[in-house]
C-alpha cells in the first residue's frame, strides 16, 4: 500500500511540473501585450514609455525561463503574485473563491452520484423494458446537451417561469440548487451508463447464476452482490468526472454569477492575466490529480484483488 501511494505521489509531482510548464507555454505564447492593457487601466492612455515601464515592473522583459522559474519558486511557497487586472493578491483571491467552487463541485458530485445510481439501477432492475429505455434516453440527452444550455433551461424553468429559485447569486442553499443540478447533469449521465453496463456485466457472471439457483431475487442480487462488484469502476469513473467538473465550473459560475475559481479563471484569460491563469490552472490540475489519487486509494480499499496486487 505504502509503495502504491509513494509511486502515485511521485507520478503526480512529475505530472504537475509538466502541466505547469505546458500551461506557462500556452499563456506566454498567446498573442497580445498585457502591458498595454495594464497601462490603459492605470491611466486611460498608455504612452510607449509607460507601457515599457509596466512591462519592466511585471517582469515581462525577463527571459521566458527566468519568468517561469520566478513564478514556480513563488508558487511553491504559496505566493501566486499580484493580479495584473485588479492589482490584488492572487493567493487571497483564490482563498476567497475556493469555497465557492468547492461547494459547487461537492454538491454537484453528490447529485451526480444519486442521479446516476438511480438511473443505472432503474435500467438494471427492468432491463430492456420501458424504465431501462427511459434511463438510457435520459443519459443520452444529458451527455449530449451543452452545459450552458442546461443552465439556461434551469434558469428559465425554475427562476423565470415558476419563480421558485434564484437565477443568480451565492446566497445560501436555495441559490445552490440550480448550479448543482446544472453541473451534475453531464457526470450523472456518464456515470449512469457506467452503473448500468457494470451491473449488466456482473449479472452475467457465474456467481449470479449460483445466487439465482439458491433462490435469491434479482433485486437482492443487484444490491447485495452486483453493487460491490461495480464499486471500483464506479469510483474510478467518478474520480474522472469530478475532476472534469472544474472545467464545467468555468461555464456554470459566470452563468449563475458565482464568484468562484471558474469565473476568476475566465476573467484572467480574457485579460491575459498570467498570474491568475497560471494559479487557477495549477489548482485545477492539482485538484484533478488529487481526486484521481483519492479515487485510486478508494478502489484499493474496496477491491481486495487490487489490494493483493500491491501488497
Amino acid at each position: 500500500m505504502f509503495h502504491f501511494i509513494s509511486k502515485r505521489l511521485k507520478h503526480s509531482l512529475v505530472l504537475l511540473f509538466l502541466a505547469s510548464l505546458v500551461c506557462f507555454t500556452l499563456v506566454v505564447s498567446a498573442p497580445g501585450n498585457v502591458a498595454v492593457l495594464i497601462a490603459e487601466l492605470r491611466g486611460a492612455v498608455a504612452t510607449p514609455g509607460y507601457v515599457e515601464q509596466v512591462a519592466e515592473e511585471i517582469g515581462l522583459n525577463k527571459p521566458l525561463l527566468m519568468r517561469y522559474v520566478d513564478w514556480l519558486g513563488d508558487a511553491v511557497r504559496g505566493n501566486f503574485g499580484i493580479s495584473y487586472r485588479t492589482g490584488q493578491d492572487v493567493s487571497a483571491d483564490l482563498a476567497a473563491r475556493m469555497s465557492v467552487t468547492g461547494i459547487l463541485i461537492a454538491g454537484g458530485a453528490v447529485i451526480a452520484i444519486l442521479l446516476s445510481l438511480a438511473l443505472g439501477f432503474l435500467g438494471a432492475l427492468w432491463p430492456y423494458r420501458v424504465p431501462d429505455r427511459v434511463s438510457r434516453g435520459l443519459a443520452l440527452l444529458g451527455a449530449s446537451t451543452p452545459t450552458f444550455f442546461v443552465g439556461a433551461l434551469m434558469i428559465y424553468g425554475f427562476s423565470v417561469h415558476f419563480q421558485l429559485l434564484p437565477s443568480f447569486g451565492f446566497n445560501g442553499p436555495q441559490s445552490w440548487i440550480l448550479p448543482w443540478l446544472t453541473v451534475s447533469v453531464l457526470p450523472a449521465a456518464v456515470l449512469s451508463r457506467v452503473v448500468r453496463v457494470g451491473l449488466e456485466e456482473t449479472m452475467a457472471s457465474p456467481f449470479v447464476l449460483t445466487a439465482k439457483s439458491k433462490g435469491l431475487g434479482r433485486t437482492a442480487i443487484l444490491f447485495r452482490d452486483a453493487l460491490p462488484n461495480i464499486t471500483p469502476i464506479f469510483i474510478n469513473a467518478l474520480g474522472t468526472q469530478v475532476g472534469l467538473m472544474t472545467a464545467t465550473a468555468i461555464i456554470v459560475e459566470p452563468l449563475f454569477a458565482w464568484q468562484g475559481l471558474g469565473d476568476y479563471f475566465l476573467a484572467g484569460v480574457r485579460f491575459r492575466d498570467f498570474m491568475v491563469v497560471q494559479a487557477c490552472l495549477l489548482i485545477f490540475l492539482t485538484f484533478f490529480i488529487l481526486v484521481n489519487l483519492i479515487a485510486d486509494l478508494a478502489v484499493l480499499l474496496t477491491d481486495p484483488r487490487i489490494r493483493r496486487q500491491w501488497s
Binding site: 498573442p31 497580445g32 419563480q163 421558485l164 443568480f168 440548487i177 459566470p254 449563475f256
Partner: protein, 525 residues
C-alpha cells in the same frame, strides 16, 4: 449505525423538497425586502473606485463622485460643484465659483482648499496628459474659500467638457487617502454613500447631507451578473429592476426585443457612439485607391444591418458623429447600397474578373479584424459585410481576435479593415478626432481610425485651435475631407439600450454612456 435504503432515499427526497420550499419562501421575503431599493445589474465588480484610477465602472463612480460641471443634453454644460465659471485670456485662465454648503460624505467641507487638493492630484501630471487641461496646466491659485483660478500654458480645447468627465476629474474627500496620499475609501459629495462592496454586489444608501435633490428611493444595489443571458433572466425573474448601458451591463438588440416581447419596458436612445469601419491603406495596397474605398463603403447595406442585426434599434450612419453631439457637423444620409456602382468603381480602378476580382495577377483580398469583446455583435456584422463584398468581387477574410490581441493588432496596424467605436459624449467630437485621427497624438491604446499628416492633421489642428463661432466651420472642413476622400465608412449609430421592470417608473436614458441613470426613477411598490 445502519440506515435502510428506503429511509435514506426518503430522507434525501425530503431534504431536496425542503430546500426548494425554503427557496420559494426566501424569494418572497427577498421581494419584500427590496422595497425602496433599486436593483441594477452590473457586468463586473465595481472595482477600485479611486477617481484617479481607471479600474472602476464609470457609472458606479458617478453615484458617489461629482464634477465641477455636468454634461447635459446636447452637450450643454450645467453647474454642479461649480456654480459659475468664466474663461478669460483667450482660454488660458479659468475662474471658478464653488458651490457653498457642500460637504463630503465624511463631513469634510468642500471648499477651495479641498478643490485645490483634488485638482493637484491629476492636473499637470504626465499620466493624465491625454486631457488638454492637464497637459497645458500651469498653476492654480485659491482666491478665497469659494473662488479658485486656474492658469494654463495654452488655450484648452473643450475645457468645460473635460471638467465634466467621470475620471480623473471628480472630487474625493481629502480625508479618504492614507498618509502617502493613496486612495483609501470612496468618499465623495454625491447623493449615494457606499455601504458595502465585494465581488458580488455594491450597496449604496442615501447621503442625508446631499446638497441637491435626493433620489426618491433609499437604497441602490448594483448586482454583479457577468453573463448577459443571466442578466436578462434575472430581470424576467424579478430579481433585478434595471439592466443596460454599454459600459454597465450591455443589452444586445436581440435581448432588447426578447424583453419587449416579454412585456418589459425597453428604452432605446439613438446613442451618440458611432460604429465606423477603418481602412488601412498602409497595409492593404488596394485601399490606397479612393475608388476602392468608396466601392467598399457603398457596397455595405447599412439599413439592412440596422434592421436585421440591430432589430431596428440602430440608425444607419452617414457621418462620423450623430446629431446628438455638439459640433457634429452637417448631417448626411447614410450611403445607399449600390452594388452596380460599386462594381463599376472597381472596374474603373482596374480590378476585374469573377468571382473574385484581381489586378496584375493579385486577387482583391482584404482582411477585416473584429473583436466581439470590444464591439459586441461585430462578428455577425462582419459576416454580413463579407457576403456583400463577395457580391461585388471582393474576398473579405474575417479574423476574430480577443480583447488583448485587438489592442496589439490595432496599434501595430495589423488589419486591412477594422471596426472602431467613437467615444461618444462627453468626449466627442474632439476626443475621437484627436485620439483616433490626429497622427501626432499617440493614444497607444486603440490605434488610429485614419491618419494623414499632410492633409488631415492641419484641418484637425485648425479645428481644435478655433474658438467661438469659428469652431463649426473649421470642424466641418475635417468632416468634409473625411467624406470627400472616403477615408472612413461610418456604419451605424450604436443605440443605448436599457430595460426595466414595471416597478421602475420615470426612467430616462443617461446623457452619456458613463452615467448611472438613477435620477428620475420612482419605484412603484
Amino acid at each position: 449505525m445502519s440506515v435502510k435504503r428506503r429511509t435514506f432515499l426518503q430522507g434525501t427526497a425530503g431534504a431536496i423538497g425542503l430546500a426548494m420550499a425554503q427557496g420559494a419562501l426566501s424569494k418572497i421575503v427577498y421581494a419584500q425586502g427590496a422595497a425602496g431599493t433599486l436593483r441594477v445589474a452590473i457586468a463586473k465588480p465595481a472595482g477600485n473606485l479611486d477617481p484617479q484610477s481607471h479600474y472602476a465602472i464609470w457609472a458606479i463612480q458617478d453615484l458617489m463622485f461629482e464634477p465641477l460641471v455636468k454634461y447635459g443634453k446636447g452637450g450643454q454644460i450645467e453647474p454642479c460643484l461649480a456654480t459659475d465659471w468664466k474663461i478669460e485670456d483667450g482660454g488660458k485662465t479659468l475662474h471658478l465659483t464653488l458651490r457653498e454648503g457642500v460637504k463630503f460624505q465624511d463631513g469634510t467641507k468642500f471648499d477651495a482648499a479641498a478643490c485645490k487638493w483634488n485638482l493637484e492630484r491629476w492636473m499637470g501630471i504626465d499620466q493624465f496628459s491625454w486631457m488638454n487641461c492637464s497637459k497645458h496646466f500651469q498653476s492654480l491659485e485659491v482666491v478665497d474659500d469659494y473662488h479658485i483660478t486656474v492658469h494654463f500654458k495654452e488655450p484648452v480645447l473643450a475645457l468645460m467638457q473635460e471638467l465634466s468627465y467621470t475620471r480623473p476629474t471628480r472630487f474625493l474627500s481629502p480625508k479618504s487617502v492614507d498618509a502617502d496620499g493613496k486612495f483609501k475609501e470612496p468618499v465623495g459629495t454625491g447623493p449615494w454613500v457606499q455601504i458595502s462592496a465585494d465581488d458580488t454586489q455594491s450597496v449604496f444608501e442615501h447621503y442625508d447631507g446631499y446638497w441637491g435633490d435626493k433620489p426618491t428611493y433609499e437604497r441602490l444595489e448594483a448586482k454583479v451578473i457577468p453573463d448577459a443571458r443571466s442578466r436578462v433572466a434575472a430581470l424576467r425573474a424579478g430579481e433585478i429592476d434595471l439592466v443596460g448601458g454599454f459600459w454597465i451591463a450591455p443589452l444586445t438588440p436581440e435581448e432588447g426585443k426578447q424583453l419587449e416581447a416579454a412585456g418589459f419596458n425597453v428604452v432605446v436612445d439613438p446613442g451618440n457612439v458611432t460604429l465606423v469601419m477603418a481602412f488601412n491603406p498602409d497595409r492593404a495596397e488596394p485601399l490606397k485607391d479612393p475608388q476602392v474605398r468608396k466601392a467598399v463603403s457603398i457596397g455595405i447595406d447599412r439599413p439592412a444591418i440596422s434592421k436585421v442585426l440591430y432589430h431596428g434599434y440602430a440608425k444607419p450612419a452617414g457621418n462620423m458623429f450623430s446629431a446628438a453631439l455638439p459640433y457634429a457637423g452637417k448631417q448626411f444620409d447614410a450611403p445607399v447600397r449600390d452594388a452596380a456602382a460599386a462594381s463599376a468603381l472597381l472596374e474603373k480602378a482596374g480590378w476585374t474578373g469573377s468571382p473574385i476580382r484581381s489586378k496584375d495577377g493579385k486577387p482583391l483580398t482584404l482582411e477585416l479584424v473584429v473583436s466581439p469583446d470590444a464591439v459586441p455583435g461585430s462578428r455577425v456584422i462582419a459576416e454580413v459585410i463579407q457576403s456583400e463584398m463577395k457580391e461585388i468581387g471582393i474576398d473579405l477574410v474575417i479574423r476574430s481576435v480577443d480583447h488583448a490581441s485587438k489592442h496589439t493588432d490595432m496599434l501595430e496596424q495589423k488589419y486591412d479593415l477594422g471596426f472602431f467605436l467613437t467615444y461618444g459624449a462627453p468626449y466627442d467630437p474632439f476626443g475621437s478626432l484627436v485620439a483616433l485621427c490626429l497622427s501626432t497624438f499617440k493614444n497607444d491604446v486603440e490605434g488610429k481610425l485614419v491618419t494623414d499628416p499632410v492633409n488631415l492633421d492641419p484641418l484637425i489642428n485648425a479645428a481644435t485651435a478655433a474658438t467661438g463661432d469659428q469652431i463649426q466651420p473649421t470642424i466641418q472642413k475635417v468632416y468634409d475631407w473625411l467624406r470627400d476622400n472616403d477615408a472612413i465608412a461610418p456604419l451605424v449609430y450604436v443605440p443605448s439600450i436599457w430595460a426595466h421592470s414595471k416597478r421602475v417608473q420615470g426612467f430616462t436614458s443617461p446623457v452619456t454612456e458613463y452615467d448611472m441613470p438613477y435620477e428620475n426613477i420612482v419605484l412603484a411598490e
